[in-house]
Symmetry: C2
Subunit: 227 residues, 2 copies
């Protein structure tokens, strides 16, 4: 495996990029990180690697690009799958389908609701907060007494997908004025267990930096758009 | 395999349900079909099988539910995978990732744009038509000279996902006043090749029945909402 070349194109606050980096770190795969400024000019490498969506993250493995974060996670798990590496998906088809179901549900529900906690106002903002918290409650129930979503021993794609949103929780709680510790305390214990894993804690963006950037975006928006 | 029990919960015009049925038919797996009226009362079986989304299709295999159409397709391909059955996904991780990418892209782009061709008006309708046709052109390029998206020999999940939208094309073309034959003639040849497969043609809903039902919905909408 000495000649493997792995490159990740990412934009630092992205939850979609963070999960790819965590997966590589969890499996101890060396990679080169390339920052893309998604609000600036996209690089030729990004445009060539993901010509349809033109979005990060992209994993480029020995020159071949793989796009869409959860597809990248499955690719990583299938390619680097020797006995020594952690497995992100179970081999049993039914357990695997359940894993995919929860990973898919998180992106379908958490992303939009979370964003709505700071981009929306009034009733719509309350509705976004309610949906976000309800989704986390459903996930807390699914976690149950397990150490991780992947079981007591190891993290799975469900853990990586959900924890990839964690750096944003602080922004959503602060601007939305609510505390997940009050609503889903057991899930917050799970967050702490995940953060105790070096591969996870070192790969996630700084939550204060995200809040700072979002606060700036809101100020600019209010100045120009007046609400 | 004689004691397998497979049940599919579906709503007849659904593209998401149709692809599951086609996969079962392609693999010659016997199943029981149960119609769900998604605009009426949902059955207890649906609510118990898919308590989070409460949506069809659901595949219930020996009592165990699998939800979300593309997750079901992967499950079917992993469970029924002996040498005699057709494989819907390649075994090579990179080829598999590409398959997943295109299947995912179709649902992300075709569903919303297609619906917009009849639920939207004026400029927004034109934009939906433009995006729908553009997406099909990208797919036509990806198909290239291959017989199917899965290669020259066999259909893949990409074929099943895209052809599951075909019964709706007639509605979108009729109401949106455009012809795919003019825009993507090679893709229309691919449609005809897919329809020549009995497993596909017998599993798809009747396109005239869909147009009839949509025309009715539009009349009711115009009567009550006035536009």
């Amino acid at each position: 495996m000495s000649e493997e070349k792995v490159v990740v194109l990412n934009f630092w606050p992205s939850m979609f990029g963070a999960r790819v980096i965590m997966a590589l770190e969890e499996k101890d795969i060396k990679f080169e990180y390339k920052e893309e400024d998604v609000f600036g000019d996209k690089t030729d490498l990004l445009l060539q690697s993901n010509p349809v969506h033109k979005k990060i993250p992209v994993l480029i493995h020995n020159g071949k690009p793989v796009c869409e974060s959860n597809i990248i996670l499955e690719y990583i798990d299938e390619v680097w799958n020797n006995d020594k590496t952690l497995r992100l998906l179970p081999s049993d088809p039914y357990e695997k389908a359940k894993c995919r179901f929860w990973a898919d549900l998180i992106d379908k529900k958490v992303f939009d609701a979370g964003r709505g906690t700071w981009t929306k106002k009034g009733k719509e903002q309350e509705e976004a907060k309610r949906e976000f918290i309800e989704t986390l409650k459903v996930l807390e129930t699914e976690l149950g007494e397990k150490f991780y979503f992947g079981g007591n021993e190891t993290v799975s794609v469900v853990d990586l997908v959900l924890i990839s949103y964690y750096p944003w929780f602080h922004t959503w709680e602060t601007i939305g004025d609510f505390s997940l510790e009050n609503h889903t305390p057991k899930l917050m214990d799970w967050v702490r267990r995940c953060l105790a894993r070096p591969a996870i804690s070192k790969s996630l963006p700084d939550r204060l930096k995200i809040l700072g950037r979002v606060s700036q975006i809101i100020k600019v928006h209010e100045f120009f758009y007046g609400y």
